[in-house]
């Protein structure tokens, strides 16, 4: 699964052992399979549709954010603002469909606008990230730190830090609805994963992202419009965050600008890292990120369902990242 694209012509170092390439290619998938086998043996009521349902619905928002993060990381950057952008979209949407800003003639119009405007706004803030980073050559970790801090403040100012509670099935469809028995947020997740994977592997845009991440100067010299591509990538990350923010509030029937998306940036980066994508950019796989997120989710589920306390869960999560880094080093050396 962990297929990586290398646009720059460089010789991949040969690996001495036979196990090496197999591990780096299928290691995360094997880890996921092992986890599932472990749960089948140990966890009560594991082999049920409900388990699949719970895990997929819980992981959906992290995967959606992590897909955006994968593209950013592929371009050699990082996006710390994703959680705050989730909060901005989450705080704004209910104000729209509850007619707190302007009164819409019909509920459906309000709900439709509540889907579009907050996500676009999050995308615009993402674009702002990209503009800071390209126009002023701010390092991505610093450039996105600005909205990581300010973004939550902006979200809080929408609602005066109050939690907005609602019961609007038309809007909450994206968090609670189902198509042919499949939760809507899972469908959204799959669509975004497939779309991003296709963009990264098959389109010029995708190749250009990887080229920039691999060697920015070389990409610039070969005619890639580096600044524009980067701005787009951060905007996409913003859009993904906006969608995730809406799903979270739809699921909870409440928008709490203080808490929505808190710590998500780290979950998303962890998913990318566990999936096996190098944080230095130039190589990336969206499917690997999906597997990475599923592993983290399943570990959390396993520990929780078996009564292991939270503190231990955090340590195990860190252990997984170390394992992923170790696997990557095997490829690099």
């Amino acid at each position: 699964m962990a297929v990586s694209d290398r646009p720059t012509a460089g010789a991949v170092p040969a690996i001495a052992t036979e196990l090496g390439p197999w591990l780096s290619r299928y290691g995360t998938l094997a880890a996921l399979a092992l986890l599932i086998l472990f749960n089948l043996a140990v966890t009560r009521n594991f082999a049920t549709w409900q388990t699949l349902n719970i895990n997929l619905t819980q992981v959906a928002t992290i995967v959606i954010v992590a897909v955006g993060m994968t593209l950013v990381i592929a371009s050699g950057g990082i996006d710390l603002s994703v959680g705050s952008l989730m909060a901005i979209a989450a705080a704004l949407a209910p104000l729209i469909f509850l007619n707190r800003i302007v009164t819409f003639p019909s509920l459906y119009l309000g709900v439709a606008i509540a889907f579009v405007v907050p996500v676009l706004l999050a995308g615009l803030f993402g674009l702002f990230n990209g503009w800071l980073i390209t126009r002023y050559r701010v390092q991505p970790i610093v450039g996105t730190l600005i909205l990581f801090i300010a973004g939550r403040g902006i979200a809080q100012s929408f609602t005066d830090s109050n939690q907005v509670i609602f019961s609007t099935p038309e809007f909450q469809f994206i968090g609670l609805g189902r198509f042919f028995g499949i939760p809507v947020q899972v469908i959204i997740m799959v669509v975004i994963v497939v779309l991003a994977a296709w963009v990264l592997r098959r389109t010029v845009f995708g190749k250009q992202i990887l080229a920039i991440g691999g060697n920015e100067a070389a990409a610039r010299l070969s005619g890639v419009r580096v600044d524009r591509i980067k701005q787009l990538v951060y905007a996409i990350s913003g859009l993904c965050s906006g969608i995730a923010g809406l799903i979270v509030i739809a699921r909870n029937s409440a928008a709490d600008s203080n808490l929505v998306g808190l710590g998500v940036e780290l979950d998303a980066i962890a998913a990318v890292a566990v999936g096996g994508t190098l944080l230095t950019g130039g190589r990336a796989s969206v499917f690997a990120t999906l597997i990475g997120a599923l592993i983290i989710q399943l570990v959390r589920f396993t520990l929780l369902a078996n009564g292991v306390p939270d503190a231990a869960a955090l340590v195990v999560k860190a252990g997984l990242i170390i394992l992923a880094v170790w696997l990557q080093r095997r490829v690099a050396t």
Binding site: N45, D160, N252
Partner: protein, 327 residues
Amino acid sequence: MVITVSRRAFLAVSAGLVVATAARPTWAALPPLKKKDVYKVGFAQTESNNPWRLAQTASMQDEAKKLGHQLVYTDAAGSAAKQVADVNSMVAQGVDVIFLPPREEKPLIPAIMNAKKAGIPVILVDRDVDHSLAKPGEDYVTFTGSDFVDEGKRVAEWLIKAVGGKAKIIEIEGTVGSSPANDRKKGFDTALKGSPDMVILASQSGDFARDKGRQVMETLLQAHPDATAVYAHSDEMALGAIAAIEAAGKVPGKDIMVVGVDGEKAALEAIIAGKMGATCECNPRFGPGAFAIMKRYADGETLPTFIKNEDRFFDASNAKDMVATAF
């Protein structure tokens, strides 16, 4: 009775007394409060990022207005350092008395000492400080707040009665290590001791947040489908648990009884809708109580070191009448 004190112990104790007296020249002298009609009162709020804090601030402001006092209000925005600076600036402004919810147990001590040195009495609200560093009745007037252990106990007692002493319980804890989480667990678990058929199947943290509480409940309900009750350390997590129960195709309030703590408006609405059993209030309305303490102190009364802020209890019998007064 013969008391023998060794020479060494006597020396050690007296040396300790000398050091303590020398280090604290104002030992045991709480600054008095003059009797006046109008006071200039400082309220150094710790943060304003949740409904509970907003309700607390509103209560202080309303009561000050009602009594005609002048309120100097600051918001430390979640920073202990800023809160120290806020208190010091109130001292510089020469307020008569300071109400302080100390963000953390130790960092606020210098601010309390500074106020004491300037002759301004400090009353702690909703959170206390480390008693080894500052003593109630000595360095500050008193601490007034909720009794978290009692909150857990009252919820447990209601639940035992509601389910006839027999339940399989999932407990969703607050933030690991926080005093409300520790104490609400202690109060609840202790109260269950006398009922052997009240079994806690699992107990995990939901971080006091609705989203996390929902996810934890989804997972625990899958592992323990035989659960018949949920005790959440906050109403937000209880409401998250209700969403999880509904998603699993069960009926909250019927298949699974849900109880919480905090007494927020949304929880009372859930009680009215029959989805939730009961909740014990964690009262944010400190205004009337705090200003009454101030008056008692000005009258020269010797106050206890802890004054409990009374919490109400909500269930189906009173939720409808009380919902308008919930925060």
